[in-house]
């Protein structure tokens, strides 16, 4: 235990008997919080990002680059706000993206490979983990959600493409198939059939906007970074709102449904619930 740790314990005024129990509580809360962060991040991504990151032949240089950062930063920002406001722990974004990546790989092995026989080369996921680390690091350095949104969210959006291109570039080498030039990713998607996912469902590069490199990649990356700023602020706000939730006022009818009849009993329960908040 460092000098700083001892100072924190001293300030917190925990009794010597309570300190070991406090550590036990830490472990329990970490486990519960991990499952909560994991499930919320995963469900949120499935609902909003879903198909865009399932298959290698959906990872286009326009929409994939745009959609994945903006659909993952929302939970990263929310959890960052919660952990920061309640405990000054700058790990919310990293935990959200790390657990999402873990959950994604479990699903890839269990469901995509195990149930549908898809090879892993068809379903390798991308990740915004490097952007999440930057987001948390900038929060520590700036101590400010405003600055984090301005610089961290921009880097979050911008880093997604290069951080994933490092290991995905090989899938975009040209190959020849049935007389046409195509990418390795397209060939993988064609070779391993998805009965319910016809080719035309993909939305690949709509529009003619290009950078000087004749690619929409960086246009998408910068637009993604721009959108990430606003989403970061919005969902930071949602996280702050979640931190302020103390208790919800309960009506008489609701109480009676749950067998808690009478105003006196209601007040007693309300008082009991409100007590920890009042103490704070």
């Amino acid at each position: 235990m460092t000098e700083n740790d001892r100072a924190i314990l001293k300030v917190s005024e925990l009794s010597s008997r309570a300190i070991p129990w406090s550590r036990t509580l830490d472990v329990l809360i970490i486990v519960v919080a991990a499952f909560l962060v994991w499930s919320v991040s995963h469900i949120s991504f499935l609902l909003l990002g879903g198909d865009w990151d399932f298959f290698i032949d959906w990872k286009d240089r326009q929409y994939w680059i745009l959609i994945i950062p903006i659909t993952t930063i929302i939970m990263a920002a929310s959890f960052q706000a919660i952990f920061w406001n309640l405990f000054r722990l700058p790990v919310g974004a990293t935990a959200s993206l790390l657990l999402l990546l873990l959950g994604t790989w479990i699903v890839r092995y269990h469901s995509w490979q195990g149930l549908a026989y898809f090879p892993l080369s068809l379903v390798v996921p991308g990740t915004c983990l490097m952007g999440a680390l930057v987001l948390d690091a900038i929060l520590v350095l700036s101590r400010s959600w405003l600055v984090t949104g301005m610089f961290g969210a921009v880097l979050y959006g911008l880093l997604f493409y290069p951080a994933n291109w490092i290991y995905m570039a090989g899938y975009f080498q040209p190959v020849q198939n049935m007389g046409d030039m195509t990418s390795v990713a397209d060939l993988i998607g064609y070779t391993f059939p998805r009965a319910g996912t016809p080719e035309y469902i993909r939305i690949i590069e709509r529009g003619t906007l290009r950078t000087f490199g004749d690619t929409p990649t960086w246009v998408s990356a910068f637009f993604s970074a721009f959108v990430c700023i606003f989403l970061y602020y919005m969902f930071w706000g949602l996280g702050v709102l979640a931190c302020n939730a103390r208790f919800f006022p309960v009506g008489e009818r609701f109480k009676s449904i749950y067998g808690n009849k009478g105003k006196a009993a209601g007040k007693a329960v309300g008082a009991a619930v409100a007590q920890p908040g009042a103490a704070s």
């Binding site: 830490d26 951080a163 390795v184």
Partner: protein
């Protein structure tokens, strides 16, 4: 019953439920069926009619090939509820990627991408070459996915893949000369190693913070206005170091990768257009006068007016709809038209019943009652007339001239279901 016994029962039930949940969620159990009978009958009977479909083999080894080929006819009476085939994709239905697609063609045009502007009322030949990947007995169908109408599944045949899945390999050489040993594993290790590296950084960052007094002490410190204790100068240095490390890794890795893969192409996502088969002048005109489906008798009855416009006598040999084939078994040429590889369960056991099976003379106009009776109407779930927005039926009639040449004609119109024998007696 005592409280103790009830608790025990509840406990046992909970264990059973937990075990069932674990068994159904944790252990992957692949599905064998793929919903070929789930599509609404109005789509299956009035959109894409598959015919002359053959399978080159019903038993192959891993890596061996099976060819599915034939033709499909796009029905004139295409239902309004389903989008027209402006954009379509030729695929196959099988339970997952148990077979791989080697080649596919519509009218000899490579069908790697979607085809646009298919013409209603016309016929298209198709061909798919598949290779065995996962051992097992798999139902292999051709499928035409139509944008806005969904997958329209052709006849399915059981194909057995023998051998070991570990033997499957698909080597590919890229246009830049890189040899890929096996497409199904390509790049996976590289992705996993890099992402594991990213995850290691993330775990180190999280551990850096949670190793110290955490929830209650930090919460109390904030409430008491001592948040200055919670983030130290060392934390700042670690955060700055992490920031620099992430940027160096990403920018350096990106630069290295762009130099390594000098030639890359974006995903290819165009569509192609192909011509249908040449239109053959119709030598048989068919007009439906009346159609009923006898629900208890499982029999479709069509009253049709047929005009032979050819110079040869014609006989009706087959009625086909939704991949079901009803043959006039007294006509050898019609029976011979069923390829040995065609699935037996899609050929009705009973013969097509005709009110007059004698040849229709050239120029003759004849009203004929056609009865197609088989339990397959129920098995294939083709009788949900009450749930359709338009109670219509459609199918193809195959006529044969004196030389045994086949002539096709569409038949379609409204259909009335007959629910009781009494109603049947009253209507006829």
């Amino acid at each position: 019953m005592s409280l103790h016994r009830m608790s025990l029962r509840r406990f046992g039930l909970s264990i059973l439920l937990a075990a069932m949940t674990a068994a159904t969620t944790l252990v992957p159990l692949p599905a064998a069926a793929h919903g070929e009978r789930a599509t609404e009958p109005y789509i299956r009977t009035r959109t894409v009619h598959w015919y002359d479909v053959t399978w080159s083999s019903e038993k192959i080894g891993v890596n061996d090939k099976v060819t599915v080929e034939g033709k499909f006819h796009l029905f004139t009476d295409w239902p309004d509820a389903a989008s027209k085939p402006e954009l379509a994709f030729l695929s196959n239905a099988s339970p997952g990627a148990v077979m791989t697609r080697v080649e596919s063609y519509i009218n000899d045009m490579p069908a790697q991408q979607s085809v646009r502007q298919l013409e209603i009322g016309r016929d298209y030949p198709f061909k798919m070459v598949m290779a065995g990947r996962v051992p097992g007995r798999w139902h292999l169908h051709p499928v035409l996915n139509v944008h806005g109408a969904g997958p329209i599944v052709g006849p399915g045949h059981w194909v057995e893949v023998a051998g070991s899945a570990a033997d499957y390999k698909l080597p590919v050489t890229t246009m830049t000369g890189e040899v890929i040993d096996d497409l199904q594993h390509y790049g996976v290790a590289r992705v996993q190693w890099w992402q594991a590296g990213y995850a290691l950084l993330a775990v180190a960052w999280i551990v850096w913070w949670i190793r110290r007094p955490l929830i209650v002490p930090r919460w109390n410190a904030i409430r008491k206005g001592r948040e200055d204790l919670l983030i130290t100068r060392t934390d700042d240095r670690v955060a700055a170091g992490l920031l620099v490390l992430v940027l160096v890794v990403v920018i350096g890795g990106y630069r290295y990768t762009t130099q390594k893969y000098e030639y890359v192409v974006p995903l290819q996502a165009g569509s192609f257009k192909t011509k249908p088969l040449p239109q053959v002048p119709s030598l048989v005109a068919v007009e439906m006068k009346d159609a009923t489906y006898d629900v208890p008798g499982r029999s479709l009855r069509l009253d049709v007016e047929i005009t032979n416009q050819s110079e040869s006598p014609m006989r009706l040999g087959e009625f086909t709809t939704a991949n079901l084939r009803f043959l006039d078994k007294s006509l050898d040429v019609a029976v011979a038209g069923v390829d040995p590889s065609f699935p037996k369960d899609l050929v009705a056991g009973s013969s097509l019943k005709l009110s007059d099976s004698s040849p229709i003379a050239p120029g003759e106009k004849r009203t004929l009652r056609i009865e197609a009776t088989d339990a397959a109407w129920e098995i294939e779930r083709l009788v949900s007339f009450l749930t359709n927005v338009d109670s219509r039926v459609g199918g193809m009639l195959f006529f044969f001239d004196a030389k045994g040449q086949r002539h096709m004609a569409e038949v379609f119109g409204p259909i009335v279901p007959v629910f009781t024998q009494l109603q049947l007696a009253q209507s006829h």
